[in-house]
């Protein structure tokens, strides 16, 4: 296990979470506002609000903060690929649990790549809301 320090230390098989939280109206509206998503189901009344699928990206950072509290490591971490499947809408007030596992770590052309598979589930009955696969480059070097 390589959790506990930098995200650049993450190894194949490392598990992060589960972490629980309650989806709030503030989180949905603030995220939507920061991304210019002006749809009523993202920025409307509380009873209309649904989680923007892309908010799962901040759940990855939530897992990172918990599992790798010292940050990215020596080099900036570059997000390379986003892959999110919504199975059911997540409404505000829902108590959810997010977890992640490192499912790939490999080096290609001098760039270390890490793939994390994540799930967001209902705490109440375990039903799956979101599955997400995230790919980052841990040792990004721009082309000359």
């Amino acid at each position: 296990m390589a959790v506990g320090r930098y995200t650049s230390d993450l190894e194949l098989g490392d598990v992060m979470g589960p972490l629980e939280y309650t989806l709030s109206p503030f989180v949905v509206r603030e995220y939507a506002h920061s991304n210019e998503l002006h749809h009523p189901f993202f920025q409307g009344r509380k009873d209309e609000l649904m989680m923007p699928p892309t908010l799962i990206h901040l759940d990855k950072l939530r897992l990172y903060r918990h599992a790798c509290p010292m940050g990215a490591g020596p080099d900036a971490r570059i997000h390379y690929e986003y892959d999110c499947t919504m199975h059911e809408a997540v409404r505000v007030g829902e108590r959810v649990a997010v977890s992640g596992k490192v499912v790939e770590r490999f080096e290609k052309r001098g760039r270390m790549t890490v793939v994390i598979a994540m799930e967001l589930r209902a705490v109440s009955d375990g039903r799956l809301f979101v599955s997400y696969r995230d790919t980052v480059l841990l040792s990004y070097k721009p082309k000359d």
Partner: protein, 164 residues
């Protein structure tokens, strides 16, 4: 938005108006991260990043700040919501890959194109879509694909601001 009982044909393309990736747009996503983590109704900030600090970006070998890839993903997602409504938040898949950095003030246009459509047994349609962001020269910056199921059981609150 399209009536969700109405089929959108293969090849139909939706595009956002051109938007410059301004310094402020990059910073909004940076500031959103600690603000949402705190979830206390107030704005929070974080240490310098390659998305909001020129010196830090240059220290990482970049010519200047670059946009977080999630911004272009969100602009594609916003266009999908314009077209299909809230079903995007309940029964959809979106995959994006960041193939070129987006620099300050670079123009970005999100595009969604229908690649296949299948009628579902429950009265909706299953769409497969090619999605991307390009600049004002047509250079692709972010590429990917999406699946959207408009079956009635997956529909929630509707929205209305898109046109083909």
């Amino acid at each position: 938005m399209k009536n969700q009982a109405q089929q959108i044909s293969i090849g139909v393309e939706f595009r956002t108006p051109p938007r410059p990736m301004t310094r402020e747009r990059m910073r909004w996503y940076v500031d959103a991260q600690p603000t949402i983590a705190a979830d206390d109704g107030r704005i929070h900030t974080q240490p310098p990043t390659i998305h909001d600090d020129d010196d830090y970006a240059e220290s990482q070998g970049l010519p200047g700040i670059i946009a977080d890839g999630m911004i272009s993903t969100n602009w594609i997602q916003g266009l999908l919501c314009d077209v299909f409504g809230s079903v995007i938040a309940s029964q959809s898949r979106l995959r994006t890959k960041y193939i070129a950095p987006i620099y300050e003030d670079q123009i970005v246009i999100a595009v969604v194109r229908v690649s296949s459509v299948t009628a579902s047994q429950t009265g909706g349609f299953l769409y497969e879509l090619d999605v991307w962001c390009e600049d004002d020269t047509g250079k692709k910056l972010t590429v990917g694909n999406s699946s959207v199921d408009t079956s009635p059981q997956s529909q929630g609150v509707k929205n209305s601001h898109a046109s083909a």
